[in-house]
Each structure stands twice: as C-alpha cells, then as structure tokens.
Symmetry: C2
C-alpha cells in the first residue's frame, strides 16, 4: 500500500517518501514518477502550456507524493530573479530596527520575498562586506536601516539593484528614503500640551549632536513661536537616559519660573523626569504634564502615570519602505525623501 501522505499545502514535516537525510525531490523525480518529461512537469506545476486534465493531475499528485518543492536556486538562475532582498541595519539591531524589520519583512513576505538579515554593527567594513555578499547573492533589492535618522552617505553608487533607506536617509537626494516626520511629531506634542492648557513648557532631550534631538527641539520651539509663545528656557540637551531625565528635571524644577509641562525627547528621559517631578512633590499631570517620544511600550506603560508619547509608527514605515522597494524592483522607482507622519498617543501623563 502506497503512502499518500504529504499534501502540497500540508505539513512539510509529515513523513513522506522524503525522509531524513534524503535529498529533496527534483523535478526529474516527479517526471519519472508521473511518466512524463520534465518540461511537462514544469508546465503542469506552473499552469503553462496545454495539458490534458488527466496528465496535469497525475503530475500534481506525483509532486505531492514526493513532497516536491522547486529548487529556488535553479529558478533564480534562469529567471534572473531571486525573490530575495537584503536588509542591512547599519548599526546594531535594536529597539528601532525591530519594528522596522518586522513591518518590512511582513510586507515582503506577502510578496513571496525572503529577507537576508545583515547586522553591520556600525562598522563600515562589515557594511561593505555585506553589500558584496548581497550583490553576489543577486538579491532583487536592499533595505538599509539604522538607529539614527540623520542622513548618511549612500551605501553604494551605481548599484545594479534598487535600494531603499528606512528611518535613516541617504545624503544623495536621488536615493529613496522613508523617514518619520519627527518635526511633525514634536509639533503634535506641543499642540496637545497647548490644548490641555499648558503655557510654560520646557524641553529635555538627547545630545545636541544627535539629529533627532535638534530636529525635535527646533520643531517644538517653532510651534510654540507660532502660538506666540516660547520654550520655558532653552532646550536641555544631554543623553538619551533616565538618569539625564532625572538630572535635567531637577534643574528645570529649581528654576525661577514654575513650568507646567515638560516635553521630553524620548520616553526614557520622560521616565527619569517623572521620577524627579514626583520627588519634588509635584503631581503628574495636575501640576506638570509630561510628553515623551518613541512610544516605547515598556517605558510608556511602566511609567506612573502612563506616558503620553509620540509614536513614529516604525512598523508602518518599514512596511512603506518594503512597498517602495517592491515597486522599484518592478520598475517603478520613487526617488526622494518620503516622510511618514507620527501619531500622538495620549495617556495619563497629560490627561486632564
């Protein structure tokens, strides 16, 4: 009695004619079993040519019985398409890369694309090594991501395949980049604070040499200026840490003019600020409202009260990057800088 196990759509792990150690079935195996030529098998499997229904069915069930899966390397060889893309994270895979990667991977997976993961760890040598590897693997395209939104030199010029930068952007204006609208996000934060009646707003953020810190600070100041106001004191630049948040909050709170809100450059900073505000005997949000940035769940939700925060929607951004890459691979490139709006997530730290 012949086993009929191994449906095409079924569990590949199911024991079929192909057992451990056996080499995977090839199209020739299927052809032999079905009693037809390999060309016919290919046609049956791909719905090309004209075949009798009976023949097609015989091939299909032979393929099923052997658990046949076409060798993608062979397909790639004569189609010129590998249906793979490379994802290079220029710096270490971290909190920002993950949602980006997930979004991108999801969008690509739907297009039957597989993703090569490359972690360049901030090392230009590794980066170029990976680039060479990816080119050698004939990926159909590359997504470059990184922790900083600052523009960076293109990963290569005159490459034979499209490249999309996500989160980071390329200094070459002709390259396709997808970046969050950090300035818009900061503006939304300020708008919200104004809407809940705050007027004396301080800003505590990361290092001044960090692109995100300066962009967000400038946008916040601009927005207040448009409302006929100004930041309560110059922005406090420091580090992206809770510790800095605590320190800076102490400085702000000991100042002459009572502030009624603090816009923070990150959720980590906001947490530190929250600690210091509470320690000073002030209540959040009654006395001081607090807005963070990143909407990092463990920080925003672990804080007491939970933090209102600006969400850069990184997963969407990754998805968009993937879609632009797919379009470019399909011959419809979208050069230039594409910005993705931020969302403001309102929670207890500003709820009135």
């Amino acid at each position: 009695m012949t086993r009929s196990g191994g449906t095409l759509g079924g569990m590949p792990g199911r024991k079929t004619a192909e057992t451990a150690g056996n080499r995977p079935a090839t199209i020739s195996d299927v052809a032999r079993l079905a009693g037809v030529s390999v060309g016919t098998v290919s046609k049956a499997l791909n719905g090309r040519g004209s075949l009798r229904a009976e023949t097609r069915h015989r091939v299909l069930s032979a393929a099923e019985q052997l658990g046949f899966q076409p060798n993608k390397a062979a397909v790639a060889l004569n189609s010129g398409r590998t249906y793979t893309v490379g994802m290079i994270t220029t710096d270490t895979i971290g909190r920002f890369s993950i949602p980006l990667m997930m979004g991108a991977e999801d969008a690509l997976g739907a297009g039957e694309m597989s993703v090569f993961l490359c972690d360049a760890r901030d090392d230009p040598i590794r980066e170029q090594y990976y680039l060479r590897t990816l080119l050698s693997r004939r990926v159909d395209g590359i997504i470059v991501t990184g922790r900083r939104t600052q523009a960076r030199p293109p990963i290569g010029t005159g490459l034979p395949i499209p490249v999309v930068y996500a989160f980071i952007s390329s200094t070459d204006k002709g390259d396709c980049s997808v970046v969050p609208d950090e300035a818009g996000g900061a503006a939304k934060a300020i708008d919200h604070l104004l809407a809940v009646g705050r007027r004396r707003i301080a800003h505590i953020t990361g290092p001044e040499h960090h692109h995100s810190a300066t962009v967000r600070a400038a946008a916040a100041a601009d927005r207040l200026a448009e409302a006929g106001l100004g930041l309560a004191g110059p922005p406090l630049f420091g580090e992206w840490s809770e510790n800095w948040g605590r320190q800076a909050a102490k400085i702000v709170l000991s100042g002459d003019n009572e502030i009624d809100a603090i816009f923070c450059g990150s959720d980590q900073i906001a947490r530190g600020v929250a600690d210091a505000v509470r320690a000073s005997g002030r209540r959040i949000p009654e006395d001081v409202a607090l807005v963070g940035f990143d909407n990092w769940d463990v920080m925003a939700l672990g804080s007491q009260p939970p933090l209102t925060s600006v969400d850069m929607d990184l997963e969407k951004l990754g998805r968009t990057a993937a879609e632009l890459l797919l379009a470019a691979i399909g011959g419809r490139p979208s050069p230039g800088r594409h910005t993705n709006p931020c969302r403001l997530v309102i929670r207890g730290s500003t709820a009135s």
Copy 2:
C-alpha cells in the same frame, strides 16, 4: 584611457565597467575579457588546476575590472550547498530574540553563511509557510528561536536538513536545543543574597503557567532548602510587568514577617518592586536587597539603584546554537539539550 577601478576587495559602489542598471558581470564576460575559457576563469578564481601565473593574473585583473562576483545561485546549483540558513522566530521578534539573532548571525556570518529572517508571529500557519519556503530555498540548516523557554513540538520531522532550537527547546529529545540554565541562574541569585547576609527572601515572578516562572521559582526554593531555609512565603505569581511588581511588593511588605530581600522573576518586575519598596520608606539595598532576572540594560540600569540581575547570556547562546548548527551541517550533529550557564551581574541593588 581604460578605467581600472573596482578592486576585488574594494568598494562595490565604486563606478566600474558595471554601472547602474547593467546586469552584473558573469564568468563568461570575464573569460572573454581575459581571452580564456570559462573553465579557466573558474580555476583561476578558485585556485584549482594548474595555470601559468601570467594567465591567472590576467584572469584576476579582468574579474577585478568587471567587478565580477560569482552568482551564488549558480554555485548553489551545482554544489548542493547554498551557504544560507533560516532563522525562524516562532513568536514575534522581541527583546529575547534580538541578542539571540545577533549572536547567531555573527557566528554564521564568519562562516560565510547568510541568514534568512522569518518572523512567524506565534502563528502555526505562518511557521509552516516559512518552513516550506526555507526548504524550497534549500537552506543548509534552520535555527528556531522563541520567547519562551518551554519545550515545543518539533517544527517538522524527517527534515532533510539539521535544525537547532535556541532558547526554546524541542519536545523531541533527539533534537538539538540550546537553552539557558535558568535554574542555575536562580540558584546563583539566591547564593548571592545569602552571601550578602539575607535570610528572609521573597520571590515575585510572572504567570504560573509560564515555564520560566515556575522553573526559576522552584530552583530558588530548592536552593534555599539546601541552605536549611525556605522562601519567605510562597512565590507570588502574576505578570511580567512593573505594575505587578508594585502590587506584589505591597503585599509582601505588608506581611507579618519583615523580609530582607526580594528575588524577582524579571527586571521589569524588579523595577516595580523597587518603586514600591522605596514608597514604603525602606532603603535598597540596606533594608531590602533586590535581584532581577534578564539583565535588560534599560531596566537594570534605569532603576535606582541599578539592579543586580541574572543574565542568560543570550548572545552567547545564539552563537552556540549557530556553531552547533554549522557542526551539524558539516556532518557532526550534537543531538539533545545543551544548557548554557547564566551569569549574575552584581549592581547597587544588592551591594553591601
């Protein structure tokens, strides 16, 4: 004047004969330029056969000039090896997967292997889809990771390629799994608390149905029993959240018997506990010493004082998994469960 740009080891982005949109050079192009046959080019590039130094050099410089990179699909086709592995994260890519992935990717990259990233999102359908895809791509092996250390059914049986489970393990004892020694880590935490003179130790941790929670709790109790002591009250099972840490700490602190240390099932819980302990007027570590688990930097370092914590050394674990996979691919499998020791990282929350 002929451009000589494009060293083999140089920047692939450099403008060479191959410019944007041009198809990558093939071995035939190199052969034509060097005035030899393709077979000779292959020999020159791979150091096979016997060639005159002059010929070899001519080929090499032709390859260099064209920026030739062998098409890996073609190589895969006749070597049977793709030099790729698949990495399936059964649940969403998160805090635990990342260091694992990074360690594995690093170890594999050194072996010239590329990694396919597959995020199964806790969906068995997606998981099987990815498995099929990977098999179709003829990866040389697969690493399966996940957020939970609990054993899971094998991803497939009778697969033609080796599989290594990292962090999670397979219920099939014959499968190769690499897991952290959570019990050992918990024991180290208890040993340390005992060493700094604590005797009344409580335990607050995650949900009782979570494997890690029960294993760590049991190991802590066992270790105390060995020392002729016991936990100060039964372990408090709840959630892996700061909020639960705060709640549980209040319960513990309001008990009859004064405790002098709390061992927490995670750093997040420990942070919540720290808040509650401080709020109760007790000092850390003088009155209550605190040990967390995971050594998650933002939590452990953001806490005040910084948390002593058990580090599962996930990057090492990922690296080990990759090495075992490489060995298995090379025909030297290491079936069974391999445990990796945890490290205790001592910080202010227990410093005497």
